[in-house]
Symmetry: D2
């Protein structure tokens, strides 16, 4: 699946238009395998129905771009501001979030007509050489739609999983997608890492002294050391598009640290479980411990710890693939068990800043994390990586003006930052400075673990 092809040498307007159509088409393509009934239910308050995602993303363009930006534009339906406003208090009241799955109407056909209506007017607007401010909003609308492409898949996965029949979204994709072959090679690792790459201490696979199923040698994790110092993280406003929460770029002091060169695998996480990980209070944050007593494994694992539910249905657990669908509490407990810790978002971004944005992203079409070649260091794709950083404003942060300022800023409490995108994230959506955030108990995202430690 190509989420946003971008031809070169076109006018800005043409590029915008092409990108708009590509992103919107990608959303449609994601729905292709679905039965009409799959569009309707909402499996939990945090999730939304496919229908709702389709309508809400269109509403976003309508409300924030077409209504203010296109003279004489008339809203498609007077009730949609109420039905499809997610959480913008500045726009007005919203239909109750937990009841999105009760909206049998408008029908999917009506929502598709809504999408077409919005598309037609967006095309009209984009062809009219809109001012820069509107073009930025279009970029925001597209990034927004791409976020919902990922959410559409994770919400749908949760829905299908709650069904005792556990139907598949679609058959599994080919084991190795072409995109996958282009994963970064080790020679492209950052020059900055001048410290000896492996000390005797960092050589040890975490948990290597444990008795449970020993990993093959090539599975041992390698650590790369990074010098600390005064660095800058965050995005420069005004350069390419970024969310307000990525700004301002600012200085921060980072102490020397080591970062694992790959993600924690299913086999390693299973070792943690078999070692009593979910039953040992000493490994857990207090808020997580109360939840841990009801959990036994990652969200979609089966009871025998050898299979998991995927978008291609239930399948055998791939030992070397990155573990996913973990809460922050589980990621944190695993890290403690492994004698390591989670990286901070500054550490992560420092390393990611000069890496290419490639990896097992939505574009690979795999829709599931997959085992990485030995020594792989890709920071992007496969799973979102929980960081040890609470989601807070950067020093000097200013949310966007107006209702759109609610997009990111008002969630800056009680959540943790995740970095790097997942197998459900469009490649044109992710970047080194990108800050995703979820509550620490959330497990339905493709979220996993990359370990860090003090040198």
């Amino acid at each position: 699946m190509r989420t946003a092809p971008l031809k070169q040498s076109v006018s800005p307007t043409e590029a915008d238009l092409e990108q708009y159509l590509a992103v919107r088409e990608c959303t449609g393509a994601l729905c292709a395998p679905l039965a009409l009934e799959d569009y309707v239910p909402q499996s939990m308050p945090e999730a939304s129905p496919v229908k709702w995602h389709l309508a809400h993303t269109s509403w976003f363009f309508e409300r924030f771009i077409l209504t203010p930006g296109l003279p004489d534009y008339r809203a498609f339906h007077a009730g949609f501001d109420y039905l499809f406003n997610s959480y913008y208090e500045g726009v007005g009241p919203q239909a109750p979030r937990a009841q999105r799955g009760l909206l049998s109407r408008p029908t999917v056909a009506e929502i598709r007509a809504y999408r077409r209506h919005v598309d037609e007017h967006m095309v009209q607007l984009l062809r009219g050489s809109p001012p820069e401010s509107l073009r930025t909003l279009v970029q925001l609308g597209l990034q927004h739609e791409q976020q919902h492409q990922e959410l559409l898949l994770t919400d749908l996965k949760h829905l299908l999983y709650t069904n005792p029949l556990q139907p598949a979204y679609r058959p599994a994709a080919r084991a190795a997608a072409p995109e996958r072959a282009r994963l970064p090679e080790r020679t492209r690792l950052p020059e900055r890492a001048r410290l000896p790459e492996r000390t005797r201490e960092s050589e040890r696979t975490h948990g290597a002294d444990r008795t449970h199923e020993s990993e093959s040698a090539d599975a041992s994790v390698r650590w790369r050391l990074y010098e600390g110092g005064l660095h800058e993280i965050g995005a420069d406003e005004g350069a390419r598009f970024c969310f307000d929460n990525e700004t301002p770029r600012h200085r921060c002091y980072i102490a020397p640290f080591a970062l694992a060169q790959r993600l924690v695998s299913n086999a390693e996480y299973r070792e943690f479980i078999l070692d009593g990980g979910y039953a040992r209070a000493s490994l857990w944050l207090a808020d997580g411990w109360s939840l841990a007593r009801a959990w036994r494994a990652p969200l979609y694992w089966n009871a025998t710890l050898d299979g998991e539910f995927t978008l291609a249905g239930a399948r055998e657990l791939e030992p070397h693939a990155p573990v996913c669908h973990l809460s922050y509490y589980e990621a944190d407990a695993f890290a403690r068990w492994a004698g390591a810790r989670l990286p901070t978002e500054a550490e992560w971004e420092l390393v990611a800043a000069d890496q290419p944005v490639t990896g097992n992203l939505l574009d690979s079409g795999l829709l599931h994390p997959c085992a990485a070649p030995d020594g792989n260091c890709a920071l992007f794709g496969d799973v979102w990586e929980w960081t040890a950083s609470a989601y807070l404003p950067y020093p000097g942060f200013r949310p966007w003006a107006g209702a759109i300022g609610e997009y990111n800023g008002k969630f800056m409490a009680n959540q943790f930052v995740l970095r790097g995108g997942s197998c459900a994230t469009p490649a044109t959506h992710i970047r080194a400075s990108y800050r995703n955030f979820f509550y620490p108990h959330a497990r339905w995202q493709f979220a996993g673990i990359r370990l860090a430690k003090d040198p």
Copy 2:
């Protein structure tokens, strides 16, 4: 809509078959106005999706008739015992009731195929001259399907109402259906009522001395007095089909009482509201009072007390039509306010026993209670009538043997009996001895009020 046409002079087997096909067809006809999306959601744990009703009623025939009764019958799908078993512990565990709306699969098309599969085998079974015991179970299965026809409509009404767009199930039917004209005439009132029909006291419209909008003279309620005595109520097992909870027929002593000759109207109930009915603790049972503080009117009334949501969408409130969608607590509070009380189920059945089963039932196609001609005494149709009787076993009650014994018997606590059927009850389903039951807080059924009092 004809819910169960019954031609005369056919063999028992042919009659069974014809009835089976008619009932099943009626279910399908009820779904005709729906969009596919309407089949999916569940608006509250007490309600079920249309899809689920379609599958569950088929499962009932499959599990209790085809599986034991048709040699070599193989279940349509191994998972359906889990998915579509409502509450029969004797059959096995059930998918969580509150999550029925999450079952996007099986699709509606698959469920229709299931229905056809069951129908084909039921036809085969019925053509094979099944033994009497199976024929009784077929009757049960049909009565069960008819119950779900009503529930399908009331659950759907609730779903459409929760949608901020409040879509209609279908346009309103003609104001006066032909069936409606055949309502019982006063000359057919029971001979038993030998006491003077109206005393000066019973002449008074309840609430007539109140100041709020006076009712026109023809709206005043008439009371009919009934002699008490030792009577029998309940159904004789072995005669025509009845549920186990209607048996055994048994003696009970009934003191003299008066019964209102018509149902409480919207206008009267509005008078109760305007008189502060929902704000006066002295009118309410304690368990209802805590709910009354959150209620302001019957379930589907609008805030200005002049409109209500119906299956034909929002419409003006008809003053003389029976009020409906009330809880027991509201019915009881209204009765107290009116200086009356609710009838017991024994009183109700005593009066109903020799009345014809006619009225505004599902067959009228109105799908809403409607104003009765003056002096109407019909006990059947329009709204279920809350009685003052807790739903308890009759003396000597024995539930059916086996899992089917869970049908009615295990609910005999905390619920109240309703009598008479509603505008959503098939005419071939209701009878004088029929005991419906709901929790006293339930409001989404077509339930209303007929007053009684001590002479």
Copy 3:
């Protein structure tokens, strides 16, 4: 403990006064074994702190008798109408019920001063030859205080049980109290029971064919058959004091029935548990089944089913003593398991009507049900007996006028009637027509089982 001594040959006024002082003194005596800290906590919303009982019962006299009946009486404290009004909406708003245990003030000393203040004025009022209407209210106030004597003990028992130290209220009383010896002899059984006392069928001990620990012969239950017919139950207003809910006396038809001559014992109930009673859905009402999965035994039994918590602390389970602290659901499930049923309140009252009010009541001082001599038929004392009757108004019921009418009438939904009093009920409080009522899930009262069956 003497709860209400009544000397003969005194003037009505003197008798009232003596009774008043005796009842009030009994409340004080019940508190004698307590530490001050025991007066404060509330272990669950349904229970109340000892302090609150002491204050509320005094408030009842103040609010309903002294304020209207004693000229110039001034309330002890302006805030007590709010603090110590239990549920009388007609009086005014009430402090939140679930927060009674947070009222560290007024202190116990202040509440005792309140009691003395009320007592002094009640004595003054009673000495002034109050009119009959006030004298009736005094009787009500005393019956009310006696109800709270029992609640004080059951609430306290629950509190002490929730304490991991499980402290005793006081040491166990002597095994056999003198009162106990005066239990009714078999020769005094009602003449009405003219049917053959034991048929071969009724001879069988219920559960006798089960394999678990067989009971000794003398433990087999005897059934007595009663002729049915048209009977009267309920109390005559105007005779000796009764609650409004016991009136009016009214006719009802009772079919022939058999009643067990003793209560179900701990040994029998343990047999039910060992037979999987709590794990067999077919034995339970649906509303109880969801609770049964969390229960394993009567409320205060230990995990090994051989001990129970009593007001004298944890002690070994007495096999032949009546089982207690059961919900209605458990009582009903046991009866079904035993092939019997619970009696209706009419059946119970019919039998009790001409029995002496003696038994293991509060006056015995045992504060726990105790094993009955073989063949004992005492209907009073030991444990409240769950009946199969929902708590509903009798035909023609009229609650008392004014706020006092909320005493019983507003609870007539969702509860079941219990009869006969318990080891915590004052002997002068109980009578054949007395209707106690609790929600079917309530377990903290001394409630047990007497079986009935159809002949």
Copy 4:
């Protein structure tokens, strides 16, 4: 009240002993005004009964010092490990937190005997010249007890407030305590602040352009600018006692910032309320907004916004006194409204590092924040100051070894850091590096607002 007098020139052992006795005595002194009933209730799960505080602090010494450190020491009561273990999973299971108020036993007298028992053995241990490791644990035990002194007061305040009678803990202390006079003078402000003290912009009182009651000139807040740079915060292990969460001392980059020279006052907060602060979604974090709709003012304010509940009972609101009993959400919303923000903990500590630890602390005996003289800069006392920093581990953080490591480390998610101590914090307890932490919705602590902003 002197919470921990420390004479000079005594041996370390004598100093430890003297300090131990002083801290323990202070706890007792705080209980002096209480009725015995006040020791028992728990007004919410987050709070604990006074009794429990008394026992738990003693248990802490017993479990972590006497049991491992004093040969032959025998625990006072075998059940206390279960009853009075707060949350140390490493020690064993704990009695349910939410049920601490149900423990009428052990009585207060028994708990006092427990305290004496522990004290006698602690004296014995301290006189035995314990090793340094034990001496550090004694310091921890004393700091722990001091934390509970503050919690005892805040929990008690909440309890008394929930009582409709709103009794006072004790009469108000004298308006100006001697300690108060020693507040730091402006000349002692940090030399580091070399930037111009007030710019035109920072001169403006926040909200000065609003129409609601204008503040007198002397109430305008002054801002002091601080240079940023690479600084160190945190405590050096090994120096004077500190909690593990204050370590390690580490470098961090701080951008230039301005800090308000005084706390936000009641008058200013009232202005926020009158300006619709609680009704304007744009001011709130999303998680706080759902709570804000149920709040109207700080926790203990009355409905007319002119009075508040204090430990001396209800009293008039002092306009110039610091506002307190705010959640993080309210502090954050106020800051947004005022065009400012909350300081980070690093900013706060940078400023506090060279300030004397004086202010309106527990030792002043006021037990309530009080109006500061104009220009006051005291960072300690009055109210805990919410910071914008999530409570997370410092880089390189290692919790203490063993069960005691649960003291602080396991709470590092979902909470925010508060700094500076309050009017209920012992002066010997607080320090510049001290990190207090509470959930952002918590309001029952003495928590208020100091504003910061970017220069």
